[in-house]
């Protein structure tokens, strides 16, 4: 019994960390920037393909490839932001939906043409392969990647967006771009930087989560609901919220798999329904501290 609970927690949390890693970029672009970024998965996929290419074709070490992959995703996003995305911030959400869905379609077609329609594995280095013995059971070693990266990026973005002036500027720009500009903020630059950071994090997540969500052209559509769920349940724009939400969703689905295997998916969605009915703004929300 005890070991069952321990197993549920271990598997749930480690799955939750993967969910967090693949969604963390979206907490920036959708959560903070309020840009309905359905193309989040595209940047994650770009990161994944980049890492696979760096490791397999160029023989770079995994860790280096990971960092470069994030950079590649960030740079591509930066270009897209300047060319397309910035034109629709002020437009209705549905226009953003349409634009990013367009990007998703194009991303799918292009990656299929370049990398083929089958999945592309990212070869793990020796020290991440196989399993690690936890004493009473074992766990895939690779799962430590999302663990470490997840905590690092949580801390990093919390510091960046809650504790620096850049973060305040970004939130001000999102709140009221006109007023922000009139107070001397270069809103375009702030947006472009934030979008690129979001995409770079997506790229990182794409690599870190690739064992569970393997990289392939349809990646951006297949897992879209997953990304969105984490952000919605956590409360858009709330980093800690997304983190808790990811762990919660991961654990509940995992518990479902252990206890009622066929109903794991239903459990996950029922949980989502319950949380969102109970707290329509997500688990956490900013409020006045009085």
């Amino acid at each position: 019994m005890l070991s069952l609970i321990a197993s549920i927690l271990i598997d749930g949390i480690s799955y939750g960390l993967v969910l967090f890693m693949v969604s963390v970029g979206l907490t920036v672009t959708l959560g903070l920037m309020r840009f309905v970024n359905l193309a989040h998965g595209t940047f994650a996929m770009v990161g994944g393909y980049a890492a696979a290419t760096f490791v397999t074709a160029l023989g770079l070490p995994y860790v280096l490839a990971l960092i470069l992959a994030a950079a590649v995703a960030g740079i591509i996003a930066f270009g897209l932001e300047i060319a397309l995305v910035r034109r629709v911030y002020a437009r209705p959400e549905l226009d953003q939906v349409l634009l990013t869905i367009g990007l998703v379609f194009m991303g799918i077609a292009l990656s299929g043409m370049i990398f083929g329609n089958s999945l592309v594995p990212i070869r793990l280095p020796e020290f991440l392969r196989g399993s690690t013995d936890l004493g009473f059971r074992s766990m895939p070693t690779q799962r430590f990647v999302p663990l470490v990266l997840g905590l690092l990026s949580l801390a990093g973005i919390w510091l960046l967006f809650e504790r620096t002036r850049f973060g305040v500027k970004l939130r001000a720009t999102v709140d009221n771009p006109r007023a922000a500009g009139e107070l001397g903020i270069n809103t375009r630059r702030v947006y472009a930087a934030a979008f690129a950071i979001g995409a770079a994090l997506a790229g990182l997540g794409g690599v870190a989560g690739a064992e569970l969500l393997p990289v392939e052209p349809y990646y951006p559509l297949k897992y879209l609901v997953l990304f969105l769920a984490v952000v919605a349940v956590g409360g858009p724009g709330n980093m800690a919220g997304s983190f808790v939400a990811a762990i919660l969703l991961g654990t509940v689905e995992t518990a479902g798999k252990y206890l009622a295997p066929e109903f794991a998916t239903i459990a996950l969605y029922a949980l989502m329904l319950i949380v969102l009915s109970w707290r329509p703004e997500g688990l956490f929300q900013r409020s006045s501290k009085t």
Binding site: L98, V225, P236, Y269
Partner: protein, 319 residues
């Protein structure tokens, strides 16, 4: 133009386009029937998206409910088409009503994700009820009786098309009427600022539930049409992916105007069909680029763009 002229003009559009389509595409009536049914579904979606201002990825839940209900009705109760449509409306409306009670206090991303959750749960339940629904293999064996006891459903889809087109036409006229009514005006007010409407004594929750149920009923009707004309109902009718696809059609056409829904469905289906025919491998690239272009250059969707072009022509003609 007087109001009556305008109304008559609007009423004539669908029949004229339907005839034109049949003349241009004489051998593709099953495809045309698909377009008409999809247009009906997108029209119902416009009530939620355009009139209530709620982006949803769960509209297929009602469509699928209508489709399965009409299919089961024809398999086990009576294979008469018109009563089957009523069953579809009731099923779609019922699913909408029940989920509206949960949904209608939410909005934005929360609403979106709740619609996803509901749809996925229904999907899983239908998938698991294999004995009744056929699960993932689909529900098949539907043989409809002749329409009005006289017109046989032919495998070329001729009757299917006219059947769907007439239903679409009637629903469109009905919705146009409703859009201009006190109910429709209130819907727009609720979308703009619900809190303000309740400060005026309006029951926004009840109003939203009513609107969502109406929309669900029409989605169910579209589902029933699909079940009767395709004769197979698959789980895809209940999928989030399909919900997303019709949302794309609607936004592409232009929200809140009803015409946009029709135009979006027609254009998207046509382009998808022919792009996929010309280049089955790369058509997604084309469609993706087209969506991006529409957002950039036609901010009010295809219908908004069409309208602007017509206005410019008129102005040009005048000067």
């Amino acid at each position: 133009m007087t109001n009556t002229q305008r109304t008559l003009g609007a009423a004539a559009v669908i029949p004229i386009v339907a005839v034109a389509l049949v003349v241009i595409f004489p051998n593709q009536q099953a495809f045309l029937a698909q377009i008409a049914i999809t247009a009906l579904l997108v029209l119902s979606l416009d009530l939620v998206v355009g009139f209530a201002g709620l982006a949803t990825l769960g509209h297929a839940a009602m469509y699928g409910a209508g489709a399965y209900a009409a299919a089961l009705y024809s398999l086990h109760v009576w294979a008469e088409p018109l009563t089957g449509l009523v069953v579809g409306i009731l099923a779609g409306g019922l699913v909408a009503l029940v989920s509206a009670l949960m949904l209608m206090r939410a909005h934005g991303l929360t609403f979106l994700m709740m619609t996803v959750a509901i749809t996925q749960i229904i999907y899983e339940i239908v998938n698991k009820s294999r004995a009744v629904t056929g699960g993932d293999d689909g529900l098949y064996g539907i043989m409809m009786q002749p329409l009005f006891g006289r017109f046989e459903f032919d495998f070329y889809g001729r009757l299917a098309f006219w059947y769907a087109a007439v239903v679409l036409w009637l629903v469109f006229l009905l919705l146009r009427h409703i859009a201009a009514s006190p109910f429709g005006l209130t819907a727009r007010a609720v979308r703009d600022d619900g809190g303000r409407v309740s400060s005026l004594g309006g029951g926004i929750f009840a109003h939203r539930v009513a609107l969502y149920t109406l929309s669900g009923g029409i989605a169910g009707l579209a589902g029933a049409l699909s079940a009767q004309t395709v004769q197979v109902v698959g789980l895809n009718t209940l999928s989030v992916t399909y919900s997303a696809e019709i949302l794309v059609m609607l936004v592409m056409g232009g929200t809140g105007r009803l015409w946009g829904a029709l135009l979006g469905a027609l254009v998207f289906m046509m382009i998808h069909h022919y792009a996929a025919e010309v280049d089955p491998v790369r058509w997604m690239l084309f469609i993706g680029a087209m969506l991006v272009m529409i957002v950039l250059f036609l901010p009010k969707g295809l219908f908004g763009g069409l309208e602007a072009a017509v206005n410019r022509l008129r102005e040009g003609a005048r000067t």
